[in-house]
């Protein structure tokens, strides 16, 4: 049923109906922005990347075949935008890269995630998540926070489903170990 409505929505977008495009934005922008906030830990960068994601989606809507859901497709674009921005940052200056690493390591009031950590348990959880490797962190965010299935995650990061399952399970175990102070 959901797939059918998505197919109809896609048809409307291709016919140039603005309402269909607006529906796509309304249904997905919060999820994409949240994903970007978790990846970048910076509200303004996350905003920029969200806008770039949607701009890229409109520019390439003709290439979207509908094999994955629109949500998965948008997450895939967003993830690649994030990877590109990280690469650019590293390429332009090592200093900027170091600064960005410091930002990730230290809790700041500008980091929207720390503002969310109202209770001690959430704060500890964010802290433990930050200690994970980048790939493990992405798995946790995609599966548990964004609510994507393993199959959808595999499409987003372009890896086999088995690898995605294994990495997610490993990431969860490491996260638990960080929380219980075993690592």
């Amino acid at each position: 049923m959901r797939r059918r409505s998505e197919r109809q929505n896609l048809k409307d977008i291709r016919e140039g109906r603005r309402e269909a495009c607006e529906a796509v934005v309304c249904q997905n922008y919060k999820s994409i922005y949240s994903f970007m906030v978790y990846l970048t830990s910076n509200a303004s960068v996350a905003e920029d990347l969200t806008q770039e994601t949607f701009a890229s989606a409109w520019a390439n809507i003709g290439r979207y075949k509908g094999r994955a859901s629109l949500k998965t497709w948008l997450h895939q674009i967003a993830y690649h935008k994030f990877i590109d921005s990280e690469r650019k940052l590293k390429r332009h200056s090592a200093l900027m890269s170091n600064l960005s690493r410091e930002k990730r390591d230290t809790p700041e009031t500008s980091n929207p995630l720390y503002r969310l950590a109202t209770d001690e348990r959430s704060f500890l959880l964010y802290e433990a998540m930050r200690k994970l490797k980048s790939s493990e962190y992405t798995m946790i965010v995609l599966h548990y926070i964004q609510g994507l299935s393993f199959r959808e995650m595999a499409k987003v990061i372009n890896e086999p489903v088995g690898t995605v399952k294994w990495r997610t399970s490993k990431a969860l175990k490491r996260l638990k170990a960080f929380l219980t102070g075993r690592i």
Partner: protein
Amino acid sequence: MTENQEQKWEDMRLKSLEAELRCLPEVEVPETLEDRLLAAIPDRTAEVTREHQVKWHAGAWDFGATATAAVLILALMFMVNYGLSMPQKTLITELNDTSLCYTRWDQNNFLYDQNNACVEKTLPYELKLPGINPDESVY
């Protein structure tokens, strides 16, 4: 037994952690973001899609034309190599009686008249009419 119990506890702890992660508070979204994203929707989404489709169709036509040309060339080569008869050259020409009639050459370059009587042997692509001698030309 104790190991099984331990494993069970471990699984329960992981399940609990999964539940905690799923219940994390949602990220606050800037109020203006939605408006900015809606304003950024291009008016020419349909055109972009159409352009893409046109490109795809153009590609298909190119492929079709190339394939057809290749098949024709192969067929022509086959005909030439295996000596299949080419269509006979025909023309309308003026014979002795100065009346227009339908003539043709066979493969040995013999000129035939309307009644299939051999008029004369001639070179390919050169018309020699009986009774006209180029040497006696006034030129």
